[in-house]
Amino acid sequence: MPANGGAARAPPRPPPTPSRTEPTMWKTTLRNLVAYRLRLALTAVAIVFGVAFVSGVLTLSSTLSKAYKDAAATDYEGVSVAVRPTGDAKKANQIPALDEALTAKLRALPGVASVRATSSGFTAVVDRDGERLGGRRNVVGATFSPGKDGQDPKYRFETGRGPANAQEVAIDKRVAEDGGYKVGDRIRVVANGPVRDVLLVGTFTTDDAQYKLGGSITLFDRATAQQLFNQPGRDGELSVRTLPGTGEEALLAEVRPLVPRGAEAVTGTKLRDDQAKDIERDTKSLSMTLLAFAGIALFVGTFIIANTFTMLVAQRTREFALLRAVGATRTQVTRSVLVEATLLGVLSGTAGFVLGLGLCQGLRAVFNAAGAELPSGPLVITPNAVIASLVVGVLVTVVAAWLPARRAASIPPVAALRSDVPPTAKSLRRRNLSGAFMVGLGAVICYGYGQLKDKTSGDVLMILLGGAVALTGVIMLVPMLATPVVRAVGLPLARGFGISGKLARENAVRNPRRTAATASALMIGLVLVSMLSVFGASLKQELDRVALRGITADYGVSLVSNQPMDPAMVDAVLKAPGVQAASPLLSTEVAMGTGGTTTEVTGVDGRTGMQLLHADFTEGGPEGFAAGILLDQKFAKDHGWKVGGTVPVTYPDGQTASVTVAGLYETSLLLGNALMPNQLLQPHLDRATATDVLVKSAPGAGGSMRDNLKNALNRNPAVKIMSKDDYRKELGGIIDLMLNLLYALLGMAIVIAVIGIVNTLAMSVFERTREIGMLRAIGMDRRRIRSMIRIEAVMISVFGALLGTGIGLGVGVLGVKALKGSTQMTPTVPWERMGLFLVLAALVGMLAAAWPARRAARMEVLGAIKAE
């Protein structure tokens, strides 16, 4: 072994005190790092990747946070008090009376300089080809709100002026350039209603966040904006600016008594704080999710690191024994290994941090590819990210090296004198017993809490905890499974590849702990990947079933903004040629029963609705629906409501009524808890809230229906017409996108697992140098040495993949079944995908073996035989 026993070779200085031996131990540690640099480099890669993930996520989070905050910095500049609808009012589709009367009262308050009345909502500019300009986010319309001087300080006009009447608009400079529009052009814009043909009177730039984040802004005069985004005469928000010397709190006290029902008054400080908090929360929830994946990657990494250190210690048995023989204490030996781990952790943590900056950009690209429209902006590097990277790197490495370090210390000095130290294989019995106990405990916890009705979030947490305990138990049992499973998996390979296969199979089961640790790393990644695949497939199938059975309509018409549609558009759809039945789909919250708790209610037309939606009635039926309510049977049972009885309801506007129960239906993802006829619901809503209109085409009209609908809506580019198939594809696409995103995030854990395979094999090859030399001497050619190593890798990776997909599949199926009460989902196993995972695992094994196999095959026969 090269460069070992630094202590033995150090110049013989007589140490005056025992503590003076420390520098020599240091030297040993440092020389070892150099001597084993190749093997340690592989270990380092595993740490580097894990740390890079952490640093990448933290940097992404601070970068996004900064970008959002910069963009939003000026949004509430100078606002002292704002009056706006409450969150509840928004949910219940109520529009509070923020009108001219209130504006005048606010203006009259002492200390008030100005009041801006604004409304805003989705508005897109239409290009000359009739398509929308810009994406889906931050494409807005807003009120041009001039002060006494006729200027709105928020917008800086480049050309022209602000709009003065319903026939005029101003648009931002960027969208004007994109569309090639100039002041004086007639342009078309579309909000949540028909396309408007208007005169462009000005272009501007602004500090508005939505503009800075890349969106487009269209300005309307106040009355038009009120009509488009609220209702005639009512604004969306009133913001008050004060004269110097008036405090926010004092003004707030004055404003409060004037605030109408459904609205609230808040100070500018609170607005700015809330905005900052919202941004913080949003970026934090993103980074927490991503950090969970980084955690998985690091967890997998610890297996690899522990494996490497175990192997390094085994290979250096004689060296440690020699150190002990010349007088090093156990503590010194343990410490020398841990110091080695710490140095490695610091180096890898630093490298990981730097790589993380690149990864941050990669994550941005991945999310943007998935349609996230993240803002651009320079990377923001925080000291936290640097510290976290180093701490994580060192901690993970030292924790993983702990047990191997203790093992190194327990090597007896006499081992230095023996030429062949037989590897003492510790019995797996204790490990198996503890593993089995943990699996049992986890299963009991999961089952116990799974049986509970009305699970609280604490119960769900316990179920997850039980799962984690059981998984840890399984990881402990993997060495026991290694020998029989690898033998079984290896049988066809051993048969098919002659002596290389046979030797590979024996090598793979030679050290069950090592094989298990290597395979576990891959297993963990695949458990999660397969579990998610089962969930995804089951959800997709359920959506298919719901779409096929639950919707009997042929088309759904909605807006790209998913905002409520203009009533005129709903009318146009209802009157389109070829329509047999059509109904707007309303959605609101209604309080039912005496408790006053609100529940989500879907509204459809009382006469035609049940031709468009399908419910599996358990009692009653659609006959009495025009004047009654339909309920989920489980929901009704819980409240003791029966067909023919009445339910007390409180509508969003505060009015109460008793509604007759016309029927009960089986639980459905689509229908929710309650269906009400629009005829009962609509009078209690302040505005049209139909986000979708369902359409069934008359017999024979099928082929031209889509065109008929388009024409009926004047080919409005803000409208989306989707067939049942389109819906299924869109929902399926969303699920696929989510799955792919999760696969990509788990990919890091799998990459680390692959590095683990490379590492284990490379070190096994090193350990078996003499064996390989002997095989070469007695006539095994390079090609077969190579295939021997490759086949071993394939066996290990397929073993890990089999365990991973098996467990993931089981957990997925059980999880879906556990959710059955609320979703009707039935477990679906995507077998082809599972098969693909196994094939990929085998390929990954081949790939991981490429370098170790080459090394093994290139060994000089004589050198290998003579190697110590």
């Binding site: 030429s419 062949d420 037989p422 002659g498 002596i499 046979k502 030797l503 024996e506 090598n507 030679r510 003499r770 064996e771 002997m774 095989l775 070469r776 001497a777 007695i778 006539g779 095994m780 050619d781 390079r782 077969r784 026969v861 004589l862 035989i865």
Partner: protein, 267 residues
């Protein structure tokens, strides 16, 4: 075992310009030189050695440490490259062969017994014995294997792993493996170096019997005069040259000869 000798290819194939060997020579080296390093650091391990290894005999190569005896064996066996000179194994010149052909030659025509680490720990004794045939993809000849196994005297331990065998037993399994493929020549590198005297005697007796009874050819490198006395013929090496030869050696005569090396050195 005359049929075995007839299996060897005819001597002096067309590719070899110089008639390589007399009949009855299993391996031959001509002007074999092996040097390490360049210029001032150049060390000559073998200096123009000419040697014929006779067929059907147990030849011992002896010499003090650093005499080049192991290097000579490695070069003869095609494990090491040569600086000058030529080497033939059973009429084939191996100094010209590419790695692939050399591997094949080792597989089919040469058997090896090393000082240590001779067996694969994952295979049983019997599997280790038949390993060369497995590698070659040949079916082992059951009669021959049985004969070899009987000669090694390990019939009841064939299904044990090496870890369950004593050092002497392991080395006998290694000898059996070397014999199992019926090679033209077996090279044994300090086969008793790691064994106690009793186990060593067992192994050497077996090697000698494989020559006398089974008609094999064995070349053994050793520094132990006792081990050398089992040979038919001893070649003495010093400073990379053959300095003496001896037929029908006894331990005393070999020891006597070796002492003279020491004397030369100390004076």
């Amino acid at each position: 075992m005359n049929e075995y000798r007839e299996q060897t290819p005819p001597n002096g194939s067309a590719a070899v310009p110089e008639p390589p060997a007399r009949p009855g020579v299993a391996a031959r080296a001509a002007q074999l030189t092996k040097a390490y390093g360049e210029g001032e650091t150049r060390v000559v391990a073998l200096d123009a050695v000419d040697i014929d290894i006779p067929r059907g005999r147990l030849t011992a190569i002896m010499g003090p440490s650093g005499s080049g005896k192991s290097t000579l064996m490695h070069c003869l066996a095609g494990l090491d490259s040569v600086t000058h000179g030529r080497v033939w194994i059973a009429g084939t010149e191996i100094t010209q062969l590419k790695d692939k052909d050399l591997t094949k030659l080792r597989r089919d025509r040469i058997g090896f017994v090393f000082q240590a680490f001779n067996l694969l720990p994952t295979l049983t004794a019997l599997e280790n014995i038949t390993l060369p045939m497995d590698i070659a993809g040949h079916k082992p000849d059951p009669e021959w294997v049985e004969q070899v196994v009987a000669a090694v005297g390990l019939k009841d331990r064939l299904h044990h792993r090496p870890a369950e065998l004593s050092g002497g037993q392991q080395q006998r399994v290694a000898c059996a493996r070397a014999l199992a493929a019926r090679p033209d020549i077996i090279f044994a590198d300090e086969p008793t170096g790691n064994l106690d005297s009793r186990s060593g005697a067992e192994v050497l007796t077996f090697l000698r019997r494989s020559v006398d009874v089974l008609g094999q050819t064995v070349v053994m490198v050793t520094h132990d005069p006792g081990a050398a006395s089992y040979a038919h013929h001893v070649v003495f090496l010093a400073d990379g040259r053959i300095v003496d030869e001896m037929d029908a050696p006894t331990p005393d005569r070999v020891l006597e000869r070796m002492k003279r090396f020491d004397a030369v050195r100390t004076t």
